[in-house]
Every structure is written in C-alpha cells, then in structure tokens.
Amino acid sequence: MADIEILEILSPGILTSIQDLGRYGYGRYGVAPSGALDSYALRIANLLVGNRPDQAGLEAMLLGPAIRALADIVVAVTGGNLQPRRNKQPIEMWRSHILKKDDILSFDSALSGFRVYVAVGGGISVPSVMGSRSTNLSSGFGGLQGRALKKNDILTSENHSHPVKTDTRAFNTAWIPVYPNNWSLRVIWGPQDDHFPDENRGTFLSASYKMSSDSDRTGIRLQGPVIRQKPDIQTSIISEGVIAGSVQIPGDGKPIIILGETVTGGYRKIATIISADLPLLGQIKPGDTLRFTAVSLEEARQALIGVEENVRRIEASMK
C-alpha cells in the first residue's frame, strides 16, 4: 500500500526528531542505540493510538513544534507538558485525539518535564536503518534523512486506517506520571566505584546536583560537589563499552550521565542508573536538582517489574 501523507511540519520547535525504542545489536560497529529518551512516554503514546509500543513517534523538547494534519489521523501526546493545542484550543495529554485534515497541533513552552512525545495511529514511515527508525543526530542516519525535522518536512504513514475507533482511548488519570523539579534517581554502584575514595562515594550519594544547560542528547552534565578519584591512578581508563545511565566522572570531577548516543568511553564510571529510572532522564530539565540513591540488583529488578506492570495495567484498561 502506498504511503499516505499525514503530517507537515510548520515550525520544528527547538529539536524535534523521529525516535522509536532504539537500535540494538550494532554496538560492535560503534553504533549507539539512540531512541526515545523517555521510552515510557513513547510506549504509552503508541498504545493510546493503537500502535505497537515500539513504533516510531516524534520527540520534541522544551519548545515544541507546530504540525498540520494532511489527513484525518489519530494522535496521542505524552511526556512533558508542552501545552499541546489543537487549532489553538488546549487538549488533554495522555489520551488520544482525532485530528481532521488541516487541523494544527501546536505546542508552547514546558510547564513540567522536558520532552514531549507524539504518536500517530499507523505510525510514521521512514526507512528502518539497522533495525530501527530512530534518528542518530550526531552521525546523520535514521529518522527522516538522519536529521532533526525542519519546516516544510512532510511525514508519511503506511497505514492510518484505524483512527475513529481509538478516539476515546484514555486511562485512569491517577496513573499519569508527575515530573518534579527535584529528582531522586536510583543507581547501582560500579563498575569503577572502587576507583573512588569512600568519602567521595559518600559525597556522590549525599550531594544535590543541578542539571547544567550544556547537556544534550548525548549526556546530562551535572553541577555540584566534585567527585575525586583515588590520587594514585591515571585520569582516564582504557576505552570500553558504556550504556545509557552510566555515570561518568571526567577529570574535572563533575558527573555526566551518559544517554543513548554513545557506545564507548574512556572515563571512570562510578555508578549506573537502574533501568526503571532511565525514562526519567528524558524529563529532567536544566536547573532541576538530582540526588542519587544506591540500590541492590534485586531492588532494581523489582522496580523494573513494577514499571512493566504499570504499562500492562494501562494497556489493559484501554481495551
């Protein structure tokens, strides 16, 4: 079936790109996962429009785009509250809406959170590159021509033929995530936590950090108490694999939380954010404060099972 034009970008906002749940299996070639930073929000948005949870949607940050519908479509907006509007009228987030042809979906600045996700019934069709439609912005592939969206871009869908039935999809509003300005992130120590003296490990857990404005999709840079490594070791390590959530301590002692755009690194990693808390990294904004709490592997597992049960509960309640 031929692709149908569904969306036209009228203004791109600060940074709007096509993302799915990421590109795995190509780390050996230096290819990082990319993907929606708040994967939880994208999954729920997809479920709300009747898609598979892993389909590609739009990710925008801080100041969102304006988009014209080129056909009758169903959309859902999740994640940070960037004040979505349909033809200038505010619409609810975390539920599906019909956009008629020529309706305009627009956003404003973020009231809470940092990144907003838009899923479209039938998905957005861009070529799958190495098994994923996510945009790798730094290396220029995936998504739409490997780049952020810009004015006049036209997005297509292979299949948008199921909109009307899903118009009323919503779920218990008590289950909608709330994004604070002060975050508590759970970590598991290591792999190089033993390269730091006890008092510095203590500082890492007791300190309050601020997200720096020079953060981007590759990493969240933190300002706050400096973490010193043991004095008798070199400043960097032999380059090795990293994952999203790795907390690196570079030479200046200011922690950087690695996001999904990097596969290797040469700095020590004091701790790793647990999987259950990874989606939160997409919603922390510059100026927010962060604290770290150390948990066990079993606590991390229970937390992740909790997140997945939540997704299943939401999915079940929509049917």
Binding site: V31, I238, T264, A300
Partner: protein, 218 residues
C-alpha cells in the same frame, strides 16, 4: 554494570593477546545468540554484554558466558582481513603532520614512512560509528592528543593519539593529531555490515596524492 549489562574484563592492558581473548569471547557469545542478549560491545580489554533484564538475569548471563568461555575455540575466529587504506598526508588534509614531525625532530616524509610501516590491528570500533582504534603506532611518531580538541574533524581524517591511530568515519569533534585523509568510506549505515572494518582486522596505510584521491572518489 547496572541492572542490564555485564562488563567482562579480560586483562588490564592494551595488548594483542588480551584483545584476542576479548574477540574470542565476543565471537562465541555472538554465535550462541542466547535469549535476552541485546548487544555486545567489545573493546581493548573488555566485553560489555547488554541484556534485557525482563527476559534473562545476571546469573543466567554469567553462567552462559562461563560455559562459552570454557569452550571458546580460537580456530573458529574469522580470518582477519587486511584492508589497504590510501591516505593523502599533510597539507589541508593533514594539518597536524608538520607538528607531529617537529615534535619528534623528523621530516614529514619520515613521519609518513613510520605511519605506513606497520600492519595495524583493529582493536575495537567505538567513539563514533565505524571508528577504528588501530595500534600500535611506532614510538618514533607517537604523539599526545591536541590540548584543545577540534569541534569538527572532517570525515576521512586520519589521526594519531599516543600509540593509537584511527580514522574519523563521520564528521565529528575530535582531539587526535590529524596527519592525513582517506577517500575510503568507512561507515555506511545501509551497508552490510555498516562498518568497513571490524575488530581483529589489519589495516595497512599507503600514501597517495590528492589527485589520486580525487580519482578514487569517482
């Protein structure tokens, strides 16, 4: 590392022997395709195994790797390919060639002679897609990184950092001393595989002129 990856360390130095062990374990796990393994990132001295904690567990991954490690068989490693990489050294393509020569009291021609001598081992692919970490550069031309990294190093640039040499497959920031440029495409997202070089390959550089390079592209 965290609740969804295991960092398997097989030595604490940059050496062909340690790197070969990493490659052996990497190949064994890759062949085995155990359930729940999402990605593998082999590097100089370690292998990062990324798994889906909802489909497997750290214990299961560890046990699987121990069993595979006991049965790894070097004879099953793929025969390394030797890839010849033509390089335009110096000039606008290699802005740091002069500096590297001065650093070692050599002529640029002597630097090129040293750089093209070894068949380098591809220790790992990382940093950016398709970026090969090659070693080892002769001591005579080993040069520290630039104090201030460049914000944009053009695709194809060939650099040196201490005893490592490498090629930038895509435009990216970078701090290595850039001594030349190659017209060879090292990363193609639609290629199978996407990277021209893989871990364990050998790279042999040879000097070409800018004119030969322009013909290479056509």
């Amino acid at each position: 590392m965290g609740d969804r990856s295991l960092l398997v360390e097989l030595g604490d130095e940059i050496s062909p022997a340690v790197n070969q062990r990493v490659q052996e374990l990497f190949s064994a796990i890759d062949r085995h395709r155990s359930k729940g393994i999402l990605d593998l990132v082999p590097s100089y001295r370690s292998l990062l195994v990324i798994y889906d904690p909802l489909r497997t567990s750290l214990d299961e991954v560890k046990t699987g790797i121990k069993n595979m490690w006991n049965s790894t068989d070097q004879s099953r490693l793929p025969q390394p390919q030797t890839v010849k990489i033509p390089v335009v050294y110096g000039g606008e393509h290699g802005p740091d060639l002069q500096l590297v020569a001065q650093y070692h009291n050599l002529t640029p021609r002597e630097v090129i002679g040293f750089h093209t001598r070894p068949a380098y081992r591809v220790y790992m692919i990382g940093f950016t897609p398709g970026y090969p970490y090659l070693g080892e550069v002769p001591d005579a031309i080993a040069t520290p990184r630039r104090e201030t990294p460049r914000t944009l190093v053009p695709k194809g640039s060939v650099g040196i950092a201490q005893k490592q040499t490498g090629i930038y497959p895509v435009d990216s920031p970078g701090g290595w001393q850039i001594i030349g440029w190659t017209p060879v495409t090292l990363f193609d997202p639609f290629g199978k595989p996407p990277s021209r070089l893989v871990m364990g390959d050998r790279v042999q550089f040879h000097a070409i002129t800018a004119q030969e390079a322009s013909q290479w592209q056509t």
